[in-house]
Symmetry: C2
Subunit: 346 residues, 2 copies
């Protein structure tokens, strides 16, 4: 049997660690109770542990992967890798609607990595943590056969307010916090240039590169969503838009109709699609690591206009349906599966 691909393996994990055995709590001598609210079987962006007066969220992300293709193309420095590592981890906290409360970074490096390079990774990580109002609080460093960077981010929520993937109900409105596809467009563009392809302007190249050098975690929006009381599910788009829609659908037991006419395509994505001969739609929906928030809003109490008035710049994508099907609905009423690859294979 060939090894399972990534989503299948993650699904398997939940079975292996047996969701029915997932209930767990412990009490300290002073009576403080810790209770696991969402563990592996929840398959959410972060685990959630209920503590006295607060919920702790915690997630780990390894980032060596597509990002490093940008490093190989000369588009990211060691500093940028450190920055990216922390944003990738904080994005999971943002997706829970939690307040960042510390980041741990694991940096293992080949023995010949210059001190400056190591320092740069750490400085970039430090800047990103501070940018989001938190700190690098620990981790692990040491040698390894290759550069390996991984992290863990902590966040705090008021009890019961952490945003899960599983709360969407039929009739809920589906939103994404901004345009997607830019990170993947950047990666494809610089590979195209490295292969001798035609170039776009220096301004466009700079903006594409910045999507990896200075990605953004939607921490403020996440906090607003959690505080709004009307958001029923949320997840970041670090696996790409298609995968994220499908994962919320699965976790919530709903389908989604995404209205193709609502999907705003960034001019950057359009230009890259044209010059590289790719489909803009594949970039927008595929495995682009844009760290946007995909979320649903209670359709029984809230209108699309309410949401757009309250959270500026969010993009209305469609709505949750009965059953598990996720579809792209085109202008003429025809439907298709959501385009793009469902997962980032790197």
């Amino acid at each position: 049997m060939s090894p399972l691909d990534e989503p299948a393996r993650v699904a398997r994990l939940a079975t292996l660690l047996d969701s029915d055995r997932d209930e767990w709590s412990t009490t300290l001598d002073n009576g403080a109770l810790a209770r696991l609210v969402a563990g592996v079987s929840a398959r959410d962006d972060c685990a959630v542990i209920s503590l006295p007066g607060v919920d702790l969220v915690v997630g780990s992300d390894y980032v060596r992967g597509a990002g490093f293709s940008m490093y190989e193309q000369g588009q990211m420095s060691f500093y940028d890798i450190g920055y990216y590592l922390v944003v990738a981890n904080l994005s999971d906290v943002a997706a829970m609607g939690s307040r960042p409360t510390g980041v741990l970074v694991v940096i293992r490096y080949p023995q010949d990595l210059p001190d400056d390079a190591f320092d740069d990774v750490m400085r970039g990580a430090d800047e990103a943590a501070r940018r989001y109002g938190t700190r690098i609080i620990g981790g692990d460093s040491g040698t390894a056969d290759q550069l390996y960077v991984s992290g863990t981010a902590l966040g705090l929520s008021e009890p019961g307010t952490a945003l899960m993937r599983s709360g969407a109900r039929p009739g809920d409105h589906l939103f994404v916090s901004g345009e997607t596809g830019i990170a993947e467009a950047a990666r494809r563009y610089f590979e195209h240039v490295a292969a001798g392809g035609a170039r776009l302007t220096a301004d466009v190249e700079h903006t594409l590169g910045e999507s990896w050098r200075r990605p953004r975690a939607e921490v403020d929006l996440g906090l607003q969503l959690a505080g709004s009381g009307v958001v029923t599910s949320c997840q970041d788009t670090s696996d790409g838009l298609k995968a994220t829609v499908e994962q919320i659908a699965e976790a919530s037991g709903v389908g989604f109709d995404v209205d193709a006419g609502n999907v705003r395509v960034s001019p950057l994505v359009d230009q890259v699609a044209r010059v590289t001969g790719r489909s803009a739609e594949d970039l927008v929906f595929g495995g682009s690591v844009d760290f946007r928030l995909l979320f649903t809003v209670d359709g029984s109490t809230t209108t699309v206009a309410d949401v757009q008035a309250r959270f500026t710049d969010v993009m209305h994508l469609g709505s949750a349906t009965v059953g598990g099907e996720t579809r792209l609905v085109r202008h003429d009423g025809s439907t298709s599966p959501i385009p793009g690859v469902a997962w980032r294979h790197v």
Copy 2:
């Protein structure tokens, strides 16, 4: 300039991330305050964050290293690697005297890793977490160029009771929770056998192998130490006994006189030293990853006999002195630096 070795790089980290800027806190809308008590500059086994009614400790450990030499010698399975990963991470929680409250595991694997091998790593991790009364609550998995395993462990302490490295005072008694050197003896022994060296009995081989397959985190002892009110510092010996003594000395601003006559040498270590032509002392003090707890007890209120009555099987090593020197004091009164390498270079 040649790259800094590991201890120098860790020291540099504390400077890079500037200890003076390390004060950090955040308040949720419901008034809950989170305050960083020990961050990177504390250079402790875990970071400590004060939360309402509890202190959260959290640390990350990457374990690909010496342990994998045991895998290559056929002494560890994938299951054992998962088990080891979790124990290594929980040992840091034990060293803080905290109650394990969840483990996250990052397992990145080459694309051709069989499903069974992946499952085995996870099952081993799961068993170890349950063995210590906690759960695998999350992490990250996916492909990479090689197998990388890393983890993060959480723990909870009653406020102000987490055991730090920095509290030892001159006159305090120095203890270690058991014999050291066994893990390193195991590694050296199986390398020696692989190179065609003479073998010990099957029973001895089994016990040596078990030190890697089923290592123990001293969680119960850590909780007892934290609850005793007389322990002034604590650290696990995952960097080896010499390094651990030196690190507590540095963090606390004291020296240590270790009485050579007090150091119990495991018969396993003796046998391996003999058959491999190594120094037993180097194995005992060097970079052996035994996950023991090294700790100091307030010498002004507590006698060595008190400690030995209270915590059975702990080994009295010596006492804290004024100034930063760490020495081995021999029977004839002569002194030397503590033998062994100060850090695990793998």
